[in-house]
Assembly symmetry: D2
Homo-oligomer: 284 residues x 4
Amino acid sequence: MNKITILIHCNDRPNIIASVTNFIAHQNGNIVYIDQHVDREQNIFFMRLESEFGSKSFSTEAFKEAFKDVLADKFDMKWRIYSSEKKPKMALFISKYDHCLYDLLGRYNSGELNLEIPFIISNHNDLKSIADNFKIPFFHVPVTKDTKNEAENEQLRLLEEHGIDFIVLARYMQIVSPKLIDKYDNKIINIHHSFLPAFVGAKPYHSAYKRGVKIIGATSHYVTEELDAGPIIEQDVTRVTHAHSIPDLIAKGRDLEKIVLANAVKLHAERKVMVYNNKTVIFS
Amino acid sequence: MNKITILIHCNDRPNIIASVTNFIAHQNGNIVYIDQHVDREQNIFFMRLESEFGSKSFSTEAFKEAFKDVLADKFDMKWRIYSSEKKPKMALFISKYDHCLYDLLGRYNSGELNLEIPFIISNHNDLKSIADNFKIPFFHVPVTKDTKNEAENEQLRLLEEHGIDFIVLARYMQIVSPKLIDKYDNKIINIHHSFLPAFVGAKPYHSAYKRGVKIIGATSHYVTEELDAGPIIEQDVTRVTHAHSIPDLIAKGRDLEKIVLANAVKLHAERKVMVYNNKTVIFS
Amino acid sequence: MNKITILIHCNDRPNIIASVTNFIAHQNGNIVYIDQHVDREQNIFFMRLESEFGSKSFSTEAFKEAFKDVLADKFDMKWRIYSSEKKPKMALFISKYDHCLYDLLGRYNSGELNLEIPFIISNHNDLKSIADNFKIPFFHVPVTKDTKNEAENEQLRLLEEHGIDFIVLARYMQIVSPKLIDKYDNKIINIHHSFLPAFVGAKPYHSAYKRGVKIIGATSHYVTEELDAGPIIEQDVTRVTHAHSIPDLIAKGRDLEKIVLANAVKLHAERKVMVYNNKTVIFS
Amino acid sequence: MNKITILIHCNDRPNIIASVTNFIAHQNGNIVYIDQHVDREQNIFFMRLESEFGSKSFSTEAFKEAFKDVLADKFDMKWRIYSSEKKPKMALFISKYDHCLYDLLGRYNSGELNLEIPFIISNHNDLKSIADNFKIPFFHVPVTKDTKNEAENEQLRLLEEHGIDFIVLARYMQIVSPKLIDKYDNKIINIHHSFLPAFVGAKPYHSAYKRGVKIIGATSHYVTEELDAGPIIEQDVTRVTHAHSIPDLIAKGRDLEKIVLANAVKLHAERKVMVYNNKTVIFS
């Protein structure tokens, strides 16, 4: 049994849904999941669809070609089609904080994440032993002002060599350059330790403490060139009081960061996220 | 422009989605919303669909007949089709607590609820002035052990006379009889002041206090013959501490009750709830 | 039985707690509640204390004098002492939105709020009938560019005439002037429809929609001269998705605004809020 | 600088607070934290207090004796006094689930937990490598019907030998016997995967799925002889929908279990929990 996931967006107009479902029926597919959304302000149609094909002769590539010829061109669709056979490959970028790393590797180990982790890159060597414990290859790529360009080329080389599909910055404490962002457009997931758009930039827990907020948060988003301004995938918050010091906020925030980043990774890996106008549609 | 909402459930089998969307296309309808769910354990398929029909000659009744002939019989569907022109009629049953009443009437007044409230029934006269302020007809139907049967007949008479579609028990402090439940199967919405299935029955806040829970809740569900055991539509919770007395729990609970009941009413009125096996599918 | 509430803050130094509790014991008082907080960064001590005095000859004024002489001067305290006999008087300022008004008056009616509402002021006449229903005096004080100064004088006259202790802006759609803010320093409570500091200013739900956040919020704070930048009393949030339109956000936000404002009003009326450095200490 | 934490409970009567604070002042202590609670129904007074003593000659033992003579006997107090120098020793009991184990050890490693973990006991060998990675001694104590008594004696021996203060059952899949419960009264912390008192006993996620709840939870409580009925320390919940399968509930629940158990462990280790009438007072 072959299973594929289809993601579509295009200008909204009548009969898109019927045309797509009809096409799949003609290809002898059975739709097992369908969800759709229309942005009424922008008149954009979004759809996510999972379909099973029982025929032995089914080919994802042939299906894609037919889809393009019959449907995509007609409705001027942007589309992606994924075979469920192929798990996405995720590269982890880390620095010195270990909480998101432990959390993601623990989930990976337990089978909760439907993806592969070919390697971990870090600009420091501190967390190598964790990678070793989980038996994930670890590459130390130091980044200094002078070696930034060189380091980036090394990162790109590793990403390409391993056929990486998306990158997760698990509290990676470096600014990612435009070259990497261009190449992995809406494929680099960051975790920011505030409920964006509040407290953009460095030391958000310090800013939250100073402002005296009663709620702190964490936000996972795709990286764009503007700092902490990319499309938001997931957010969560927790209550705090005047009695919480900055270290308390940091400790409480770690729990948020772990869960928010893990949820974003799962949504992305299961191809449930679509991006447009710097926002996301999440089909969950 | 005519707009209809279709709710379907039946045993799952291939091609249901394509068949339904195809049928609507042939009727010159444009699907503006589609959502579906499959209960894999029970092999049951659920779908909710909204479709628009531009033709002047469109008739909901004719559409229903065609739907039945072409689709429903073939797939052995249970189905409901609603025209968006007809707002559902809700009867409010109340006793002496006013918080859910104020909340629902405030929302009704502000246009937030897409329904009509032909009347309010109460077994007490205490809240009549609120009904008067909001200009909703108020019927005082006292219930005593001796008059219970008579009272119920009066309730039924009023419900039928006004063509009521569903009933909301807004902290109505009487057990509703099987006769009413039978007639309004999955159409009587209750608010229970605990997170069910914990603390079934009377005085749940007292029980919550005694057990020392750190979270209290409220649950809105359809009324069935077994007390507080019907299909759950909506739940919400809030944190409490050892410092909260029973009156504190009651006060905090009122806020939960209001919001949970209002959400359940909205979901039901917008035909987003399907019931099976004493559970709900919520297409929100 | 007389009951008083004492709020203290001063630089932290040893023996403040023992000195205060000792003083109360010598005054034949029994402490029924004590809570304290130290801001370690700023070295500031905060305390809230409730004490009962059984003696018939007890006088709050005499107690205050003794407190000042024996304790306050020695520790250079800022302090407030309230008799529980005297309920605080709250003025409601409203415009055209009725949800917070209905909510607060419903709570007031049910005895949930330990305060008095001598009157409601509005710059429009639209909601007069609600005030009438709840039998609260209603003053229509229109505000235009030309009459702003005059309107403010009228507001001040009413506030003084009725001995108002604090003001609640229940979605009052006017900027309050420095004259009022000065006179009611940390005594004007506003509800802002975002989780501050995100989305300061007008139309926060529109901004939240545009930014694509997955959580929206509401914030109640004391009014200071800088817009939406005063000390935060209470915040709450709720989840949203791509499927929520701006009107959906507004409707969901109304529920947040009601509860957040009501909680802030209760905390203030029960003298549980202390303000320093543009932040609050909440003894709840 | 010596620091101690005092926990007191006794029948409520006037002047307890003043007497205690006075006593500490006479011992040249400076109170840095005080919190109290009165259960008005049962007339029980609770207090938690942290105090610093600068004198070189200060002795916790001498302080305890004086406290007993001067205060505890007079007010018939139940009391505990802890020196902050001595970190509590926690034994971890585990079986085959690793998520709570990883979570607690990750926090332990990062310095978030103010305690020591002398060893881990498991009835299976599966998770030994995790203990090894974190360099915590691991004892495999298999439990079968025939060896239950013997296993328990071995557990007790290890607990005593290492001077264990409290035990955490991190998804330990065995019923703990009355002998252990007696010896570690209110010192054995369990994590149950439902919001108690709903879904007591085995397979709560299956029961939650069957009942169709819209919220699932986790509860951490002290173990008593009645299953899942001990004093609740901490609870948390998360939303679910009809679309979540039982494995989905289990995966979402894992995140709850980790955080709820970690919070309960922290509260206990910081001596912030008091137990009475099968409930807890949490001074946080």
